[in-house]
């Protein structure tokens, strides 16, 4: 069966510091991968998605970037965090041909102080 991992589970970082969140998927090949942010009182916001190694699409211009160095690894990064980057970050995967079947990871709670 497929599993999706995210780490760290929680993170407290000062403004201006860098960020790296990692997501890995097991038990499937060639998945689509997604990064979402869920801010308090707001819905899930798609940040990035990837259909293959090195292929990243950005949905929202912002302070963040994403990379996919391996088929089942997805990384969310920032060079300098802003207060507004605080939130709950979720990674998800879907089968290559069924992007609507999205399965979410456990999430990372990021607090920027």
């Amino acid at each position: 069966s497929q599993t999706i991992h995210q780490w760290p589970a929680t993170l407290v970082q000062p403004v201006g510091s860098p960020l790296s969140l990692e997501c890995t998927v097991e038990g499937t090949s060639n998945p689509n991968l997604y990064w979402y942010r869920q801010a308090a009182g707001r819905g899930l916001q798609l940040l990035f998605y990837s259909v293959g190694i090195g292929q990243i699409s950005s949905e929202v211009p912002q302070n963040l970037s994403a990379s996919r160095p391996q088929d089942r690894q997805f990384i969310l990064s920032s060079k300098k965090l802003l207060l507004s980057d605080s939130g709950f970050y979720l990674c998800a995967w879907s089968p290559r041909t069924a992007f609507y079947e999205q399965y979410f990871g456990p999430g990372t709670r990021l607090t920027v102080t």
């Binding site: 689509n32 997604y34 009182g41 707001r42 819905g43 899930l44 798609l46 990035f48 998605y49 259909v51 699409s57 949905e59 709950f88 979720l90 998800a92 992007f99 609507y100 079947e101 999205q102 399965y103 979410f104 990871g105 456990p106 999430g107 709670r109």
Partner: protein, 114 residues
């Protein structure tokens, strides 16, 4: 503008009753509509998907309806239990969008009291 709204931020009901959650949308033509459950501090878990040509879908105590004329989906939990307490999200899948085009509502927090 395009909107997806879940009418109640919170819904409190008594154990054993039927919980009904509403999802309305405007200016979308979704191919599918999905419902997810999200527990505090956890990622959403997929529950049900209903297609535009389906009126109703059931899974155990869950029932989803989809009315493309009213642009509305109803999500029912029958014989509700305290363990059903969670936030429920609806999400639209829209044809012609990008590979990532799953559009979420803000969710309804359901509390089932014993």
């Amino acid at each position: 503008s395009q909107k997806i709204e879940q009418n109640s931020e919170a819904l409190n009901i008594q154990e054993g009753k039927t919980a009904t959650l509403t999802c309305n949308y405007t200016n979308y033509s979704p191919a599918y509509l999905q419902w997810y459950r999200q527990d505090p501090g956890r990622g959403p878990v997929f529950l049900l998907l209903i297609r535009e040509n389906e009126k109703e879908k059931r899974k155990e105590r869950l029932k989803v309806t989809f009315d493309t004329t009213l642009k509305q989906s109803l999500f029912h939990i029958t014989a509700s239990q305290p363990a059903d307490s969670a936030t429920y999200l609806c999400a639209l899948v829209v044809y012609g969008g990008s590979q990532g085009n799953l559009i979420f509502g803000k969710g309804t927090k359901l509390s089932v009291k014993p």
